[in-house]
């Protein structure tokens, strides 16, 4: 079937606090096609996690104010909780950053991995466990039948994350959302898990949304990338293009500020000046303008819209939309 599998249109999610409304997701739109890998990149406070949670309708205590999440012909923001429960874990699966806290410590791992198929496909205990054990083996856990009887704390971090991935895959979902799946892991284990995710994407054809703050991870994993800042999408496009010629000053500055393994020592880093914005009290116009070295007068007045810049990329920047190339010392 042609066309996108999941389409998010102008999503807005807010958290009401006593100091004001935190606009965690402030008009986010994107889509993902079957089998595709999309990376959502941003720092803390960018809204990337809340976006994913909103898609899954797990954003409480936040509130989805407006927007649509179209999946298989339905708007997920409007379906009932019961219908959403069917979709969660079965059609759209999510794995989280810290497998230690996202797994229940008092239940055996195999039981937990089998839970989605028990719930959604109605399998009995034995069949569900067989599916779980088989999936644990597929994600690279040695001796899966024995390990299934272990509790989460008996697994190492990497193995636990594999178990979580297994749990997400047992129902062969169409979309897998991975929220910072390797941030808490060592680098060599991270490489293993990323390789596993790549393999899963190839073998099962699951569309994968990878949320991370690590630009290197995105470069290695995702065909397309979406950069978020202060609850908005500031740039998106094919990964190769966005990294080669970023069209938003935030992306551009970020790429220049991170130390690279293959860089010659010693060019001083060029940090992004300033602090991440206060989501309750966003700057007027473009949220990035106080920290931007390319800004013009318009940037502090009008909020830029996401528009085509260059052949394949979208960027929300007045400066680049008017044809200026991002270059710097």
């Amino acid at each position: 079937m042609a066309g996108p599998l999941l389409e998010v249109q102008d999503l807005r999610t807010v958290f009401r606090t006593k100091h004001g409304d935190v606009k965690a997701v402030d008009g986010v739109s994107f889509e993902i096609s079957p089998g595709e890998t999309l990376g959502i990149v941003g720092e803390s406070g960018s809204g990337k996690s809340v976006t994913a949670l909103s898609v899954m309708r797990l954003q409480r205590p936040g509130k989805i104010l407006s927007g649509k999440v179209l999946f298989q012909g339905r708007d997920l923001t409007k379906v009932s909780e019961g219908e959403m429960r069917e979709i969660r874990g079965q059609d759209i699966a999510m794995i989280f950053q810290d497998p230690m806290t996202s797994m229940n410590p008092v239940f055996r791992t195999g039981w937990q991995v089998a839970e989605p198929v028990r719930l959604h496909k109605g399998l009995d205990r034995t069949s569900a466990m067989a599916v779980a054990v088989s999936m644990l083996g597929k994600v690279g856990i040695p001796g899966p039948a024995t390990r299934a009887r272990d509790y989460p704390h008996q697994f190492s971090g990497g193995m636990r994350q594999r178990a979580m991935i297994a749990m997400g895959l047992t129902t062969t979902p169409k979309v897998l959302i991975a929220d910072e799946p390797t941030t808490a892991l060592d680098v060599t284990i991270q490489a293993q898990i990323l390789e596993l995710l790549r393999q899963v994407n190839r073998d099962f054809g699951t569309a994968t949304i990878l949320i991370t703050h690590n630009l290197g991870v995105v470069a290695g994993m995702c065909e397309r990338v979406m950069v978020m800042y202060a609850g908005r999408v500031v740039e998106s496009g094919p990964t190769v293009d966005v990294f080669a010629h970023p069209k938003h000053p935030y992306t551009w500055s970020l790429l220049r500020s991170i130390p690279r393994l293959d860089a010659e020592r010693h060019e001083p880093l060029k940090p992004i000046d300033g602090l991440p914005p206060d989501l309750i009290d966003l700057p007027s116009g473009c949220a990035f303008h106080p920290r931007c070295q390319f800004k013009v007068e318009r940037c502090s007045r009008d909020t830029p819209l996401l528009n085509r810049v260059g052949e394949t990329q979208l960027a929300a920047c007045w400066v680049t939309q008017s044809g200026v190339e991002l270059k710097g010392a």
């Binding site: 060599t188 991270q190 293993q192 790429l255 690279r260 393994l261 001083p268 602090l275």
Partner: protein, 337 residues
């Protein structure tokens, strides 16, 4: 010659500032009703290391390798189980109390978690001024001036001295922690993962700050991190640790271009580079299995259970750190070419 005299050799700046030999830090594991010690966590399991005055020595490794413990042992926040630590020629590995406190003015530490490393009940000014109080360096107006100076030097507005840590962001808190470390006027600072908990766009600010401060105050850093990209950038030499032992030491560029130890090789190939074309075409050496436990490390070379090049000999004997020319040391019987 009496014992005390022997411990303090004549030391010049040509000698290493910090010199560690055979350092071991083992933590007992007790079990059973009577709480007997049944085993030891061998966090640091025989480390030799020199840190030269004015340099930044990077220390990398994954979780459980003992790098934090090594840093804390060198600065004597943890007592070593065996081995020696020489600071400016003086063996401080067994010193306590007043003796040790004198050295505390020469060494300081910056911590990883900016949210936990500052006492939430103290004002920023008091946090930065506490070292001045403890060592009676300054009082009254002079103390106030020093605090202001310190805050300015790390890039914080001195007006914030009467505010509390929770009012600041992670990056700003880390600056406060750095100001506190500078307060006693140390010559040696152990930086224990100082930027891991910060946002990517702030990390570069703090890295630059640390480099500036090093130049300004002639500081020597032991920079501990798990991110080799950062360490390679900031450090002169990099030491790689695995399960309590140092497996390779080399200048940063050299380590990247020509690693000798198989672990270093796999570590380098695992680190993602923010360049999709490079990433797609990389040859990856993906290690199997998990890191072994520091309670019961493998015999001989600790890395052999995961090493793609391991031979039977590796289980029998522990490889010593050998020179591969030009300040490059590696502990492996079958190194990479």
């Amino acid at each position: 010659m009496p014992e005390g005299a022997r411990l303090k050799r004549a030391w010049t700046t040509a000698d290493p500032l910090v010199s560690v030999r055979g350092l071991k830090t083992w933590f007992p594991v007790s079990s059973g009703v009577l709480q007997r010690t049944v085993a030891h966590v061998r966090a640091v399991d025989g480390v030799d290391l020199d840190i030269k005055k004015g340099e930044t020595l990077g220390l990398v490794g994954e979780s459980g390798c003992g790098k934090s413990t090594l840093g804390r042992t060198i600065i004597r926040l943890i007592d070593p189980t065996a081995g020696t630590i020489e600071f400016m020629g003086e063996d401080i590995s067994r010193q306590h109390g007043t003796e040790m406190r004198l050295h505390r003015r020469d060494m300081a530490m910056i911590f990883q978690d900016p949210y936990a490393s500052l006492d939430p009940r103290q004002t920023v000014g008091d946090i930065v001024g506490e070292p001045l109080d403890i060592h009676r360096i300054a009082r009254g107006k002079e103390r106030q001036d020093r605090i202001y100076e310190l805050l300015k030097v790390v890039g914080m507005n001195p007006r914030f001295a009467d505010r509390y840590p929770h009012e600041f962001s992670g990056g700003q808190r880390q600056r406060i922690g750095i100001a506190r470390a500078l307060a006693v006027g140390p010559s040696f600072i152990v930086c224990d993962e100082p930027i891991s908990a910060l946002d990517v766009s702030i990390q570069a600010q703090i890295i630059n700050l640390l480099e500036n401060l090093q130049a300004k105050f002639d500081l020597t850093y032991l920079f501990i991190a798990h991110d080799l990209s950062v360490v390679k950038h900031i450090a002169n030499r990099v030491a790689v640790m695995y399960l309590g032992k140092i497996v390779e030491v080399a200048p940063g560029g050299q380590l990247y271009r020509r690693p000798r130890h198989p672990y270093t090789g796999s570590l380098l190939s695992a680190i993602p580079i923010p360049d999709p074309l490079i990433e797609r075409n990389r040859e990856r050496v993906i290690l199997q299995g998990d890191v072994a436990s520091p309670v019961n490390p493998p015999s001989g070379c600790h890395f052999r259970t995961r090493c793609p090049r391991a031979k039977p000999h590796c289980a029998e004997e522990e490889p010593p750190l050998e020179s591969f020319g030009d300040e490059h040391l590696a502990a492996c019987f079958y190194p990479l070419d």
